[in-house]
Amino acid sequence: MDQFRLFPPQASTTSHEVDALFFALTLISLFFMAVIFLPIIFFSVKYRRGSSADRSNPSSGSFWIESGWTVGPMFLSLGLFAWSALVYFRIERRPANAIEVQVVGKQWMWKLQHAEGKREINELHVPVNTTVAMTMTSQDVIHSFFVPAFRVKQDVVPGRYTGIWFKATRTGEYHLFCAQYCGTQHSQMVGRVVVMEPTAYERWLKSGELSESVVLAGERLFHDRGCSGCHSPNSQFHAPLLQGLYRKPLPLADGTMAKADDQYLRDSILQPAKQITAGYPNIMPSFAGHLSEEEIMQLIAYLKYIGDQAPPSP
């Protein structure tokens, strides 16, 4: 009877929370179906044409009954809202101390890179009982990263970073789908998530050809692409130093404040004139078209790395 399976595997912490809510909703639905369908069947039999049932004094409404079935479901729905919002909040809030994976979607494949530098296509290897957080973007149209066994899904939007996280609880192989229609081979933009024992994961991570870590790749780009020519203490150009910058509030030239998060750094690389740091001239060239999505992510990983360092004195 495996082919008549009703539920996907429960393989993450989130999957238990979502399924609990799903079962509650199913029970409430069954309750309302009973409350509506049983009277309909009962009335249909009792008051069928020609039956001898008592039809005297039919009621055409009662304020209290109407109020009852207005207010009752309203409170019930508010309760359901609160429960589902709590779970949603946990799904959406990225936990600290997670394994970082970077994801780039394109027509029609998933390109993934682990922080250690290991790359994968349409496959994601992760250790069990470990929080994994992903930063995702698309280099063309909107895609959506969907792992049914984990009950998580997040659109992958060009021009933006979106995040998704999960903590797998069972080893095994699970479907990875693109859930947002993205063109001809949308249904082939699929893959698998392989959940492994931590030791097996470590072995896997070190297998195959070794590549530099994401931060090292970012540092190399920082020097090779000329970023360090301006953004360094002994530069002849007046450019802000980037050490200690990451996720810090930043005064802008127009008087507003920005937070130097991934999105801000990305925009600053591709559209430098969009948000100018207060006290600096608008002289940075755009790198749009000169850096791939992966390279931008590597650069940001490097900026994040040096974001923890104290800013050097000029």
Partner: protein, 561 residues
């Protein structure tokens, strides 16, 4: 407005008030008075325009159904057998575009609404008969553009036209299809204005707002949405064309645009449009339930107000289509709570329909079977809507077959069942003849069974994780796809049967007489088929609607008429 005295009057029993000449076919009627193609194409008669719409939307329904049938056959196997992925994507796009804009949105308003709204309020026509004919021509022009796009290779964006796929990456006829929908939208707006003005200005003497049949209330609420929401769709489609044609950066981030902005604009229209597609159906159900249980509606004011509440709240929930789009978490919460609240007025309607049955005298005629089927399917569709409003569950089932099943329960299980029920109910008025009752009941039951077999397995598929718009799928999902396809073939029979017996009954059905259902609405107080200007003299209304008397009608036998 002294309801107290008039209510007592009307309680005399409906059947006494009504013109009752059973078995009489009005020789001089809106069909017989003019002949020839020209008379049809230049008609300003709302009844003939309703029939023009009926023919047009049924043609689109057939094309869109063929697309659905091809998809269901293809999905029998996990790997492709019949069509390429490119064709499959075009099939679901054509199915969605035609069903939404060229069948569901116009269905009840332009066919049943056009035909019966003026008669229900005792008017000789709509407020702007020429505008009414113009709206049909605009609709045909929009449809022609859509068909042109289809014949020249189709569109593969899905009916949602999500950017930047639709503006930059799709190599299909996006602009002409968007133009078709754009043009058809004006037809919707014109019809909406016409209905609003008709309802305000053309009511018969004594027909106060709270004596209006609930179908009129629902059409009024629908028309408000049509007039207020459709312009936003027009703007959105125009912006798509501007970006696609001239490369102006609006939605594509490569051009400096924002793809999620498109989703806000699209759903700002398309969620209210969902209510355009269901409110008129709810109105029809109120007519059917009262007539075939011979009962005054339970909670008239609540049912009518619920229509208006849905129309208003429906504008505030668009973001529930975007919980995983990267919209802010807090915006998601606001849209979630509002989506839960919009379920309340729908619930009120269902509870009141159920309560109406109590102490009635229930006739299981074909329209009533469709109405009861509607309540069943709409309830399931509505309750599964709660799953989608619940943020955390939506994250999992968003863009899966769960959503497909949910909205087909509302759109097909709800609106199409209501449309079929209404068509059977008013058919004697439209044609002057009865449809064959046994075949009607059989078709209603086949439709109900076929529908559930088609779409219930899709809830399970969706929760298992089957994404929508997938041409190829993992083999473990096959069994539910096979069940769904089997159901679709039964559903197809349920739709074909009425098509055949309605055509037969047009000439050969038994003569219906003015009021075969002994119904209280003004549309039944004139001959069948009605004369060109509906009433020989303007009716005067003295009481509330639905003044049926279940006690008196306990042994009434409608079927033997």
């Amino acid at each position: 407005m002294n309801n107290a005295t008039s209510e007592a009057d009307s309680m005399k029993s409906a059947t006494e008030v009504i013109v009752d000449r059973p078995g009489e076919f009005a020789r001089e009627n809106y069909l017989s008075i003019h002949h020839g193609v020209k008379a049809w194409l230049l008609t300003k008669d709302h009844k003939r325009i309703g029939l023009l719409y009926l023919g047009t939307i049924l043609s689109f329904f057939v094309i869109a159904s063929v697309a659905a049938a091809l998809m269901r056959i293809e999905l029998l196997t996990p790997q492709p057998k019949l069509v390429t992925s490119e064709t499959y994507n075009k099939l679901f796009t054509i199915h969605g575009v035609l069903m939404v804009w060229f069948f569901l949105i116009p269905s009840i308003p332009t066919v049943l609404g056009n035909f019966v709204l003026p008669m229900m309020i005792g008017a000789r026509d709509v407020a702007f008969p020429k505008l009414n004919l113009m709206s049909w021509y605009i609709f045909v022009a929009g449809g022609a553009l859509a068909l042109w796009s289809l014949i020249h290779g189709g569109v593969d964006t899905g009916w949602t036209f999500y950017t930047p796929y639709s503006t930059t990456y799709a190599n299909t006829h996006v602009i002409s299809m968007a133009a078709g929908v754009f043009v058809a939208g004006f037809s919707t707006i014109v019809t909406g204005i016409n209905f609003i003005v008709t309802t305000h200005k053309m009511r018969a003497p004594g027909l106060t707002w709270f004596r209006l049949p609930l179908f009129v209330w629902s059409l009024y609420a629908t028309s408000l949405i049509m007039v207020l929401a459709t312009p936003v769709l027009a703007i959105t489609l125009a912006l798509i064309s501007v970006e696609r044609f001239w490369g102006v950066g609006i939605f594509d981030p490569k051009l400096g645009g924002d793809p999620v902005l498109f989703q806000h604009m699209f759903w700002f229209y398309s969620h209210p449009a969902v209510y355009i597609m269901i409110l008129p159906g709810m109105g029809v159900i109120s007519e059917l339930i009262t007539c075939f249980s011979r009962k005054q509606i339970y909670g008239y004011v609540w049912v009518g107000s619920a229509s208006m509440a849905i129309a208003i709240l429906g504008f505030l929930v668009w973001g529930h289509h975007m919980f995983v789009s990267s919209q802010s978490v807090y915006a998601g919460m606001v849209f979630s709570i509002l989506s839960f609240l919009v379920a309340v007025p729908s619930g009120i309607k269902v509870f009141n329909w159920t309560a109406t049955l109590r102490k009635g005298s229930i006739h299981f005629a074909t329209p009533m079977l469709y109405a009861l089927g509607f309540i069943g399917l709409f309830t399931i569709g509505g309750l599964t809507g709660l799953f989608l409003a619940a943020l955390a569950v939506d994250v999992h089932v968003h863009d899966t077959y769960f959503v497909i099943a949910h909205f087909h329960y509302i759109m097909v299980g709800g609106m199409v069942m209501a449309f079929m029920g209404g068509l059977h109910y008013w058919w004697p008025k439209i044609s002057g003849r009865l449809y064959p009752e046994f075949a009607g009941k059989l078709a209603a039951m086949i439709t109900f069974i076929g529908f559930n077999l088609t779409f219930f397995p899709q809830f399970i598929l969706g929760y298992l994780g089957q994404p929508r718009r997938y041409h190829i799928y993992p083999p473990e999902f096959q069994i539910y796809h096979v069940l769904s396809t089997a159901g679709a073939s039964i559903l197809g029979i349920g739709y074909l049967m009425p098509l055949i017996y309605f055509i037969w009954a047009w000439r050969h059905g038994r003569v219906a007489g003015p009021n075969p259902w002994r119904a209280t609405g003004l549309e039944w107080q004139t001959t069948s088929p009605p004369p060109e200007h509906n009433f020989e003299e303007t009716p005067i209304v003295t009481g509330p609607p639905y003044s049926y008397s279940p006690e008196k009608d306990a042994d009434l036998n409608l079927a033997s008429l």
